[in-house]
């Protein structure tokens, strides 16, 4: 048997189904890999070896008993630590939740357990998913397996780095403004944000409720589609969950892998063409575009004039919702409490708790959000941002009347050195320039590797109309078939 940690999820599932490898062997191989490299990568905040082995054993027993198994049964998965897991510590990357063991599972965790996936542990992230580098994790940064001196993207840097370092074949992320796609891009992996409402938010520690979307991270497009199919589907516990059936993303990925895109129209957003992206990123993206046209796709330039306001609108909407969502962390019902010395009043203890429990980026966003929702400023900020959101949605709708998908680089720059953007928060925000518009619209988008720039991976983003998640998988798989997957060198 070849190295189990280098295999794709689809290959592992096939090996387990055929009895070539047991789920226990696959799990142990990944736990060993984690033990060997994670002190350098720091992709995981918590490894649940015991739980993983028990889940793997269960799959092996069910297989022996002849029970039917799902297409990913026995395959290990890492879960971003903002997803609530029953009995397993869930911190959201924040000190304020240190030690919290939730009494319930997120819907997507229930679905993965039911599908026989084996949860290895919880992956690192920027605190409450606010950030683009994973440097804002209260538990220390994650390092990019391509260059340990660089960031793995954020907020789901742990989920992306775990894939690139072969610690897990699949991971789960959440995408509010690019937190699945941007880490995917800078680690040379695949990250997909489903249609908002296509995957349940029940059990996601909320950052920005109207934007948060959980989705799959993998090393191949097919693997991402396989995990997508497990995660997605209507959830009556999430009022914003879509009741329509999930499109056949796995079928679309397999169709795309045949390499035929005849008649597919790719929309190039004119407004993304200006300054912003590094030359190497633009070059790699152009190579990807050329590869797709060779497969029969047609490139059409489209105009989305309101995209220039996406970043400002996002940085009003997301902080506003987060200022309210994070109010519950007050040291009363769970988590940290600081300063309760018997003399201080509750109000002071709450303020000291939140001061000690939240990191600087969270505090900045809470303050901005509180400001933007204040009665005197609501219309100019939050209200106006929601109108801009309408206009951006109209831009997408108009564009999709002319093209099947929109394409762009995933992020303007390759993985940057640790510490290079933390002192200027707004420079960090620019990492999300290309990923944010589709979050405001709600449609699906995927990042897939398209090449290297100065030896570092560049991501290619494909955006599709809402509910047409299958379409982006088809194009992504076609690109992958032309460009191939990217493999980092051994960890240095």
């Amino acid at each position: 048997m070849s190295d189990l940690t280098r295999m794709s999820a689809a290959q592992l599932a096939a090996a387990i189904a055929s009895g070539e490898a047991s789920a226990t062997e696959v799990t142990n191989a990944h736990l060993e890999r984690i033990a060997a490299v994670d002190d350098r990568v720091h992709a995981f905040l918590h490894v649940d070896a015991e739980g993983a082995r028990a889940a793997a054993l269960d799959v092996d027993e069910r297989r022996s008993a002849g029970e039917p198994l799902g297409p990913l049964a026995g395959v290990p998965v890492g879960v971003k630590d903002i997803v609530v897991t029953r009995g397993v510590p869930t911190t959201a990357g924040s000190k304020i939740l240190e030690g919290w063991r939730p009494p319930y599972d997120a819907t997507i965790v229930e679905r993965m357990r039911a599908a026989g996936l084996v949860m290895l542990g919880k992956t690192n992230l920027d605190e409450f998913a606010m950030g683009s580098s994973t440097e804002y994790s209260a538990y220390g940064p994650t390092y990019n397996p391509w260059d340990l001196g660089r960031i793995p993207g954020g907020s789901g840097g742990g989920s992306a780095a775990a894939l690139a370092a072969y610690e897990a074949p699949l991971t789960v992320g959440t995408d509010t403004g690019g937190s699945i796609r941007q880490p995917g891009a800078v680690t040379g992996t695949v990250g997909a944000k489903p249609t908002y409402g296509g995957t349940s938010r029940y059990g996601l520690v909320a950052f920005s409720s109207s934007l948060d979307t959980p989705g799959p991270c993998a090393r191949t497009v097919e693997d991402a589609a396989l995990l997508h199919a497990v995660l997605a589907g209507h959830d009556p516990r999430d009022s914003t969950s879509i009741p329509q059936p999930v499109p056949d993303v796995v079928g679309a990925a397999r169709q795309g892998a045949t390499g035929d895109l005849t008649g597919v129209r790719l929309g190039l957003v004119r407004e993304f063409g200006g300054e912003g992206a590094e030359a190497g990123v633009t070059a790699a993206f152009r190579d990807g575009l050329d590869a797709l046209t060779k497969l029969g796709a047609e490139v059409v330039e489209v105009s989305c004039p309101n995209f220039q306001y996406a970043l400002p609108a996002y940085y009003l909407i997301a902080p506003s919702e987060c200022s309210s969502n994070l109010a519950r962390f007050d040291g009363v019902r769970y988590g940290l409490r600081v300063g309760d010395d018997g003399n201080r009043a509750l109000e002071e203890v709450m303020s000291l708790t939140r001061e000690a429990g939240f990191g600087p980026e969270v505090k900045r966003r809470v303050i901005i959000g509180t400001y933007a929702l204040s009665s005197g400023y609501y219309d100019a900020y939050y209200g106006q941002a929601q109108k801009v959101r309408t206009l951006i949605t109209r831009d997408f709708t108009a564009a999709f009347e002319r093209v099947d998908v929109l394409v762009s680089p995933t992020t303007p720059f390759v993985a940057f050195p640790l510490g290079s953007r933390t002192s200027d928060p707004y420079q960090m925000y620019l990492a999300d320039l290309y990923t944010i518009p589709v979050n405001l619209y709600g449609g699906p988008a995927i990042s897939v590797p398209c090449g290297l720039s100065e030896g570092l991976p560049v991501g290619f983003q494909i955006m599709a109309p809402t509910l047409a998640d299958d379409r982006m998988y088809r194009v992504a798989a076609a690109l992958e078939s032309a460009v191939g997957t990217l493999t980092p060198g051994e960890l240095s």
């Binding site: 609108a313 900045r364 303050i367 106006q384 619209y441 809402t466």
Partner: protein, 99 residues
């Protein structure tokens, strides 16, 4: 002109129940000013008759039937609490009145 003053930041921090330090105030005031000037660009858009979008899903009337679901046990509910007394969540004395 600054979009936001140090005093405003201090006021917002109090509203948000954040006991920020003087150093943080100095740091945040500058950073938030940059951010707010940048995001204020949404104001450039003429959008008077544009309806706001608060949800990207066009759903309405998502309701559940009035059917019981099992509760947490008291132990589960209280397990994560920093302080518990007589089956209740204990908090220090409260200064402000109930709203």
């Amino acid at each position: 002109m600054a979009a936001i003053s140090r005093e405003e930041v201090a006021h917002l921090a109090r509203l948000s129940r954040l006991a920020v330090t003087e150093e943080e105030l100095d740091l945040f005031a500058g950073q938030l000013d940059v951010i707010l000037q940048a995001v204020a660009r949404v104001g450039e858009v003429v959008a008077e008759d544009i309806p706001p979008t608060s949800h990207s899903v066009p759903l309405t009337n998502v309701l559940r039937d009035d059917i019981e679901v099992p509760c947490l046990t008291a132990d589960e509910a209280l397990a994560g609490a920093p302080d518990v007394e007589e089956g209740r969540f204990r908090v220090p004395r409260i200064l402000e009145e109930e709203v």
